[in-house]
Symmetry: C2
Subunit: 527 residues, 2 copies
């Protein structure tokens, strides 16, 4: 065999653009198959629209419209009432992968990577050859701008095909329209379901939706105030790694390591900073850029040892127990609904918080499946796929549901019963198992918190079920009692010979009113 | 709430480098936890080394050395006897993500994306702050070159810290040494196991390995010839998408659509090309760059309808049934080994091929688990993680193992028994479920082929088990026979009164030699 030389091989080496990479690996971004692709496009658009509205302090109002344009071909358009996008940024935001504002920010948002929406554009041009149409208007005083664009995958740069200024008639906000190969389904994994679940977790958003069958949905608001805007935080010492610390030391404006620690990290005051330097045996006045490798290691070690307060949690934006309950009640006609919002916790220096809701009975009795329905959310975004690898599923399966009145096949499994279980994890950095953001990695601390949240709500459910059970029992006993009571009374009257004109009804009424039956029974149970 | 304006938001928008992206999302590349990180670094190094040796036509000889350098800190060095790397390419290959030679090539190789080895460098600098040390020498006539380098994550460019020319004393080939945070385990998921499995699937490679406990392993060659080098192929019409077709039309050197179809695709001759044009109602002489959007769609549609031969399969490099058997026999002392290599198939225009092996009994009887052990491979690389989402697992669970003599709990599950099942999928483009390349996406066609391969080997196993079973039965019957025969003979002698000096032993011997027992029994069964 001849074989290649190093020189020959060198000629083949070249840079791969991130757009080429994701075009070839599009299943990594949620474009595995046509049905999922349709949902992914809607999801990425909705994520961006809700983030933008919230950041601008506007109550979101979204219009989603999907139309069939041919066999397995659809157009998807999504319009929001957000702040709009300045003209210069429009091409890059939609026509360049890995471009965005949220990647480096430490506060909760739906988008994280700056990939999602441009991936939709990429998928559209790949499958239909058509450009995306982006329209945006920042306010009433400036005209709407429209771009038709594709992505130049070799360069990972937007390729602008048309650019125009529109006449009036376009309300401020942003609209994206893409043409994709897709498949519209009306099952569990559907755009309809996706938007319904989005409406539940974002009750302050108004979402209008028209599906390819021409059906119109109007998910109205259940709340009329935005949640407090999450604040941006600095990194926490417990979550930092040596390489990142090295870069921070190199780039800081602080002159001394003592001030560096206080300025660049959250929750580090003078006392903690001094303690870190002392433990690491590093001169607190030393210039950050001058630290040797061994000193950097020492600082990192010391940061893990010194007791430092947890990061602040105003960087999070939970839904809140009340709104979860409202959201579930609004969309599900259940017999019983409960919810809980746990205190924030921290994994690898990242704050996170778990919220749970359970709806039981009512219309859920009529479902054609025995398993409970699980609605998984991360940062208010529904997760429809990859349930089996998700921390939420793991926590659910590790919970002993029999104790709480639901059936559970085997010792570990999805519980059965007429229930919908809602789980929301919010964090400044959700550890997704892939870029398609469908499943939360199973960090033990996260799984534990979810389990605790589930148990809280499960206890409420148990109380409800016990009460219901008891109610049933009473009803049955009262029925027996009222069947036989008249006979007993009649006989008693006859035997004593007294009060032959005694009416039985008022006595029965007293028995029922004063719940004598129950008291007797309780007495029995006490024995 | 004040909220941000579009102008304020624009200031936050920026480009994210692919290195920053993967640094933050390193679990996507197989660096989820310290134990897995150690395996991933070895895996990426071994992949590259084997690919390079094969491409250069050299029988691979690898030396892997892992040493503990402190608490949870390890150095990993890997030296190959490959073609070496020219000096100019060294920094980019190891210090830049998405850089390589295999991404655009349509032939089987272990590496695909140009991410793996630079991700190891990135992980090393992130967790230990230390640079990678790369040494390479292309031949005896040029001196070895050495670089110490890191990755500038903001730019995704190599940052060279040191560069030197070494004296002699370094054999031609390439060595990489990285320092990482890791955890060395000796369980199923371990570097030891990973290299053992690699040796089984690459029997023409010689791998020496020294683990952190100071134990030395020497996986010797079971074959002394390289497999034929896979050939590069052009895309097949059945696997192309509109966006890609559009780009090909734009970039082609062909002047007419008729020649474009023949030159740029595999298996398209003049007749097929004419047929495509006719069906699409496109003038065969039209310039490729002049096709309207609707004409491009027409060509794509027509390409799917015209009957075109399958792609050639010399772009694949299967292991072969014989070498799989050799490999399994070399590393497992089993009672029975079988293997099969199926004919190539095609999914989405990509050729692929499935190979299966089963080892049964012998030392496998002594394992402390009941489930069979499954060795999954893609392009000769062992897959240790994410078994549950893998096409191989799905095919295994969908096979009815009870029919073939193995236990199987439930109707779908991993079979039980003293067996190791080896499955190899090779393809020009393995559809991995994530960049960490741990699991094969479940394309129905792939799952089906794997199942067929499993069934082939399972039938061999069934035959072996039946024979064994029969053998056992015979042995038992012969034993009974030989216990009673002497008595029968003695009585016969007594009754007939003849040949009192008759010796019983030779008669017994004849019975056994001529397998009279068996003949009698077979006669019985026939009735």
């Amino acid at each position: 065999m001849p074989g290649k030389t190093a020189e020959e091989m060198a000629l083949d080496q070249k840079e791969i653009s991130v757009a080429e990479f994701f075009e070839k690996n599009r299943h990594l971004l949620g474009f595995d198959n046509p049905a999922k692709a349709l949902i992914t496009v809607v999801k990425e658009g909705v994520d961006n629209a809700l983030d933008a509205c919230e950041e601008a302090g506007k109550l979101p109002h979204l219009k989603v419209d999907i139309e069939e344009e041919g066999k397995n071909k659809y157009s998807i358009s999504l319009k929001d009432n957000g702040p709009g996008i300045v003209k210069e940024q429009m091409p890059s935001i939609f026509g360049k992968l890995l471009y965005g504002s949220k990647f480096h920010s430490r506060k909760q948002s739906r988008g994280q990577q700056g990939i999602g929406i441009s991936a939709s554009v990429l998928y559209g041009q790949l499958t239909t050859g058509k450009p995306a149409i982006i329209t945006s208007r920042t306010d009433k005083n400036s005209p709407p701008k429209r771009f038709k664009l594709k992505i130049d995958t070799v360069q990972n740069e937007p390729e602008i095909l048309e650019e125009e200024e529109l006449e009036d008639g376009f309300e401020p906000g942003t609209e994206i329209k893409v043409f994709v190969e897709g498949k519209y389904l009306q099952r569990y994994h559907s755009v309809d379901e996706y938007l319904k679940q989005t409406a539940i977790a974002n009750p302050y958003a108004h979402i209008e939706y028209s599906n390819p069958e021409g059906e119109d949905f109007d998910f109205k608001r259940a709340a009329h105030e935005l949640p407090p805007e999450p604040k941006e935080i600095k990194p926490h010492p417990y979550g930092v790694e040596l390489g990142v610390l090295g870069r921070m030391l190199k780039n800081t404006d602080s002159n001394k390591i003592l001030s560096f620690l206080q300025n660049e990290f959250t929750r580090v005051g003078r006392t903690s900073a001094e303690e870190i330097c002392r433990l690491a045996e590093v001169d607190p006045d030393k210039k950050p850029g001058k630290l040797k490798h061994s000193e950097q290691e020492g600082i990192l070690d010391a940061m893990q040892k010194v007791k430092i307060q947890r990061p602040p949690t105003d960087c999070l934006s939970p839904i809140g127990a009340e709104l979860i309950k409202n959201g579930l009640e609004k969309e599900i006609d259940a017999e019983f609904v409960t919810s809980s919002s746990r205190d924030p916790e921290v994994y690898r220096g990242n704050p996170f918080q778990v919220e749970v809701g359970i709806a039981y009975g009512g219309e859920l009795e009529e479902r054609d499946t025995e398993k409970v329905k699980v609605m998984r959310y991360a940062n208010k975004v529904p997760l429809l796929y990859q349930a089996s690898s998700c921390a939420i599923t793991k926590a659910l399966e590790k919970t002993d549901w029999k104790r709480y009145g639901l059936e559970q096949p085997g010792s570990n499994g999805t519980p059965k019963g007429p229930a919908t279980i809602f789980v929301h994890l919010c964090s400044t950095w959700v550890p997704f198992t892939s870029e398609s953001k469908e499943s939360i990695a199973r960090y033990p601390k996260i799984v534990k918190e979810i389990k605790l949240g589930l148990q809280e709500c499960a206890r409420d459910l148990k109380r409800h079920l016990s009460k219901k059970q008891k109610g049933k029992k009473e009803k049955r006993r009262k029925k027996i009692f009222s069947n036989y009571m008249p006979l007993v009374l009649e006989n008693a009257v006859e035997l004593t010979g007294e009060g032959e004109d005694l009416s039985i009804d008022p006595i029965m009424q007293r028995v029922i009113d004063e719940e004598l039956v129950e008291k007797v029974e309780e007495g029995e149970e006490d024995e």
